[in-house]
Subunit: 119 residues, 2 copies
Amino acid sequence: MGLTERDASDEALRALAEPRRRAILRLVAHDELAAGEIAAAFEVSRTAISQHVTVLKNAGLLTERRDGTRRLYRARPEGLAELRTLLDEMWAGALDNARRLVEADRGLSDTDEEVGRAG
Amino acid sequence: MGLTERDASDEALRALAEPRRRAILRLVAHDELAAGEIAAAFEVSRTAISQHVTVLKNAGLLTERRDGTRRLYRARPEGLAELRTLLDEMWAGALDNARRLVEADRGLSDTDEEVGRAG
DNA sequence: CGTTAATGTCAGTCGTTGCTAACGTTAGCG
DNA sequence: CGCTAACGTTAGCAACGACTGACATTAACG
């Protein structure tokens, strides 16, 4: 079967996988900035930044607002929230696994598995 | 350039960007499975699965336990928690932005800080 | 209407990565 | 030992993605 997963969560997760895109997102999380201002914060060309911004916009992590020839961007909290929901789902599954180990530990003292260990 | 970010969060985020790796993670979130069992759940070769598991392990999202010639894997909740923390930081920034807009609507004026430049 | 400013888009290059096939490694069995 | 089973590892290839330079587009201004 096709493994070409194409939902919004996948797109947003893949967009966040890029360090440069995360930097852009942090930049526009505090203030609404124009494309030129964003590009000025990096050493790469404006073309690269424009493409990154397009990816972030398609992923629903960014909002575009036009003001004359300029285009202002800012982070979209809803997009981040969706990502956190996806992570929470996986986290719930892992927690279910951890709880199973804890229950097994109640009845058995032979196993030496460690769960929730800060390393 | 000096933008080669190499912390654990970056590695985990990039590991989760792959749909196949997310599927593996969901698989071992419910039960502890051997490498062969994981590979049997997909159409790709065992080699590909082994490499994906290595990536997930290096990202701190997986735990390896050896039993004879077999290697059992299960999800590590801490790794997911770190990712959620990273997302929460970004989310906090976006919320700060939203709160600023709300305060502006109420007529309050606040001092803004300069944006950190990369480079 | 022509010019400039701000920005997006296209084609091509190059590093990265997910994949397969072949080989190496470790643990159990006789 | 030799043999088998369950893995990981390496080399090589094809696809994807990030980047740059050149061109297209849109809006203000005289």
